[in-house]
Subunit: 357 residues, 2 copies
């Protein structure tokens, strides 16, 4: 484990994106989006994925200079073709379109096809906050999740993020995979050589498994709820809604056919649409009630929930977004710890382009 | 248990709403909405609640002749004051406003305050289907749910429903409480004098409980995910989003202050807003892509998911909405079974107004 400052990681990541052929504005956006994950403590979605993006570019599944286009629109909606660009660039573009529509008619809703992985959903949803809007972001992803009663992997971890502004209190920011545990949590236990809890995953025959490597053995992650008795049909429904809003509304791929992130995994030959799909929403608060009133009530809501009587052994009840925001403050000050395997990986990526890490 | 035809229940329920002072159109809407729950097999939200609505009307918390008003709007949004009307009437009104907005600008989003319980969320979301729109419905409710790490009940079971049209396949209809188990499921086990599974509820000290009566002993339902290790912070976040969209955007009440459904439970003296809140959305499919294309891909999605290899001991993978739709077909033909305690309750309600059940 080595500590790097945000600036160090920023300079390196920006150079890599530039070397791939991104122009300055896109490289800046991609770098900020990618590193927002490291800052917020979601290490699986940050700089650890940089080499993965480079490999997708090498096999021409990522276009470093995309012509992102609105292919259909109404006053409150748009459909966007990402031209195989980095999701890290396509997603902020699309979220901005949603925000612009919301300025005009109260809300904006954008479905995106032909994109790639977009980093953490939360960073896109949070773009709405400075405009006194509620932001929503979601994406489909390649299939790792078995629906309730299924042996087969049919859905991605399909995260949903919702960011809601407050006044004096920090914003409410939920950002969650629609599975019981995100894949990144399994990876942490893999590295420690530990078992995963019952309820996170199943093996290829649909039997509950505690093997942290089970996904590599054709196992599957479980939808939020874990099993039918504990509501996994709800997690399955949520993941499906994300898939349909992101993939089918946009003309993207969906379900078991969504292109995989690892470049070495072959894509399904049958593709019902183009690339990964995302879905974004922005709602102007004052399209419903004065923003100042709303934000004061949000403060009231947050204060009351923070004061909820905690269980024994727990200091307090958290508000969605608290842990990530606290992590961001710490890491901006003290740097971002990167595990050795990722440091090696980044060195190798640098070597490809003659850039020192 | 006695079987009643839909028509029998319809005539009786309609007469009760008329006797409360609802005019014909409202009584029709309220009856259809309430009984859609019985038809779809969600017995806890149907005619079993009729006496509860009557009692709320008796203590003047329900206004049988509400002047439902749009108090704020933009091209794609509206805020509605339900004038303390039955949620069964206010919600379909609000959903229709969302649909009308979607016709004009692509999508419509409506937040509602000063309402009451609205039956099942799914029935409102499904109003969008005939217009080739995606329908969304949610509501807050009085606090029965403890956030992650909390002893206190802070949120309602706050359901979310999403209805998505297909072509030859039946529509995708998800309708779910944001808890591991809905309260109705506990009530079924109470009647059978059985324990509930671990992960559904906790006692007043925040300790996991299998007592089906624990909610009556100041216990709490658990958010979807059950505990932190299995993602209860996600269920808590989902329930919170529903509360904020329904209660705070609209100017309604929220969190632990939402008025209770049982008329005998005193309302919190402090009220941060007016009554229960709901939130509705309608998105025109062809605001994103041609509806025919979308619906064909929905068929493709549904067919593929139905063909997912099932776990041993399970016949097939279900699509959200399958069990409720199949139940509706059966109950329309064979009648609706009502447990004896509810039959007695309905007789008593009838006696109040001189109506035979």
């Amino acid at each position: 484990m080595t500590n790097f400052s945000f600036e160090q990681l920023y300079r390196f990541t920006f150079s890599i994106f530039k070397s791939m052929g991104c122009h300055d504005e896109h490289a800046t956006t991609a770098t900020k989006t990618l590193l927002s994950a490291d800052l917020r403590g979601i290490d699986s979605h940050g700089v650890a994925r940089l080499s993965g993006y480079v490999r997708l570019w090498e096999i021409k599944r990522v276009n470093a200079d995309p012509q992102i286009k609105i292919i259909h629109e109404t006053l409150s909606t748009a459909t966007i073709d990402g031209d195989s660009g980095l999701g890290l660039v396509v997603a902020p573009f699309a979220m901005q379109v949603a925000i612009d529509k919301a300025k005009t008619v109260g809300t904006g809703w954008v479905s995106v096809c032909n994109s790639n992985h977009f980093g953490i959903a939360g960073s896109h949803a949070m773009m709405a906050l400075q405009h006194d809007m509620i932001g929503i972001a979601m994406t489909n992803a390649s299939a790792l999740v078995a629906p309730t009663f299924s042996k087969e992997r049919m859905l991605g971890t399909n995260p949903i993020a919702v960011a809601i502004p407050a006044n004096k209190q920090p914003a409410f920011v939920a950002d969650m995979a629609t599975t019981t545990a995100a894949n990144g949590k399994l990876e942490i236990l893999q590295r420690k050589n530990e078992d995963i809890p019952v309820g996170w995953a199943q093996d290829k025959d649909g039997i509950s498994s505690t093997d942290a490597n089970i996904i590599k053995k054709q196992g599957a992650l479980l939808p939020l709820g874990s099993d039918r008795e504990h509501g996994s049909h709800k997690g399955y429904a949520l993941g499906s809604i994300v898939d349909i809003f992101s993939g089918i509304l946009s003309g993207g791929s969906y379900g078991p056919w969504v292109p995989p992130f690892p470049a070495y995994v072959p894509m399904s030959e049958y593709q019902p649409g183009k690339g990964l799909g995302h879905f974004f929403g922005a709602m102007r608060i004052d399209a419903f009630r004065p923003a100042a009133d709303f934000k004061e009530h949000m403060d009231n809501w947050i204060r009351r929930f923070r004061k909820a009587i905690p269980m024994d052994g727990h200091e307090k009840v958290l508000i969605p977004g608290d842990p990530e925001r606290e992590m961001e403050t710490i890491r901006m000050k003290e740097g971002i710890p990167i595990v050795d395997s990722v440091v090696d990986d980044l060195k190798k990526v640098g070597e490809k382009f003659g850039i020192d890490f």
